[in-house]
Symmetry: C2
Subunit: 189 residues, 2 copies
């Protein structure tokens, strides 16, 4: 069974001016990224926000799709939501994974910006590392808003290279970016 987790982080992230901020939870991010995570065999997805009322909203989204009307209408979505948890901070996510596996996860940060202050890992290099993980936990972190704050990028064990399309335009949604990252790291071709 996979020991790779993902986290969708709403704080600390950048706002449009590059300042550290807290982004609001977007309903569709939760079930889109849950479906992509489960399709690519990740062990879990954490939705991270420090705001109590936002975690209560996330809990309601989980409950809607896991039980009740959502489950009856779309049973496969229930299966994807079953791998999700919410947490107040990335530190709490790391602590929970460490408690389950006996060691802290290696942390992979993602960013779309090209002006990054530290060395990045290629997708291929990370794909090989993950394939050789052999039971050690990993955590791939995605930022909402305008991307993860520098403190997360700097603290990560690995900073993954940005996704490049064609040309200069590079404004994928976090939903699309997460799907592409999972496909590049875990997809079967």
């Amino acid at each position: 069974m996979s020991t790779v987790y993902a986290a969708l982080v709403h704080h600390p992230v950048r706002d449009r001016d590059g300042q550290t901020a807290t982004a609001a939870v977007t309903n569709i991010d939760v079930h889109d990224i849950a479906r992509s995570s489960h399709t690519y065999g990740l062990r879990g997805l954490f939705v991270v926000t420090p705001i109590d009322a936002q975690r209560a909203l996330v809990e309601r989204i989980f409950a809607h799709w896991r039980e009740g009307a959502g489950k009856r209408r779309m049973p496969h979505r229930s299966e994807a939501l079953a791998i999700c948890q919410h947490a107040p901070s990335l530190a709490e996510v790391q602590a929970r994974i460490a408690a389950e596996h006996g060691c802290a996860p290696r942390l992979v940060a993602t960013a779309a910006r090209s002006n990054l202050a530290r060395e990045v890992s290629s997708f291929e290099a990370l794909r090989l590392q993950l394939a050789a993980a052999d039971g050690a936990p990993w955590l791939i972190v995605f930022g909402t808003g305008h991307g993860l704050a520098d403190e997360v990028l700097n603290a990560a064990d690995v900073l993954l290279e940005p996704i490049r399309g064609r040309g200069d335009y590079n404004h994928l949604s976090v939903r699309a970016a997460a799907a592409i990252v999972f496909d590049r790291l875990f997809g079967v071709r």
Copy 2:
């Protein structure tokens, strides 16, 4: 400049029982797939629905992001929406592309199901064909609802192999699937 287009089709698609139906337009599909299309250098994205009121809704979504408040708040989204059109049918999309290029586009259908009634093309084979297209137009078609109706799959020049993740679960959103297809066909690694 690329001569590859995409279409997001709301009719004819399958409903959950496999019957041919018309799916409702989802706001977020339009700008997510527009952003992914533009990031991967596609020439245009067509949003296809036969329902007049739904095309009027699509027109409002376009206008919101191209002009007005949406453009001021998120200027890069305006750039992605600039490559979008709506159309009442896939035949109309093919006719418009033919009018612009002097020949009909080769049509690529996508499907998530594994029980397909005809031979599929690998991503790698299609990637090579598209790279060699040399000015001839192509149209990649995505179905909303539970996927494109058989009549579209059967009429296409190419049926693309389904995306495979890990294991049996394969319920990506059309937003995630489109992003992955573009990355596999046009991504730079």
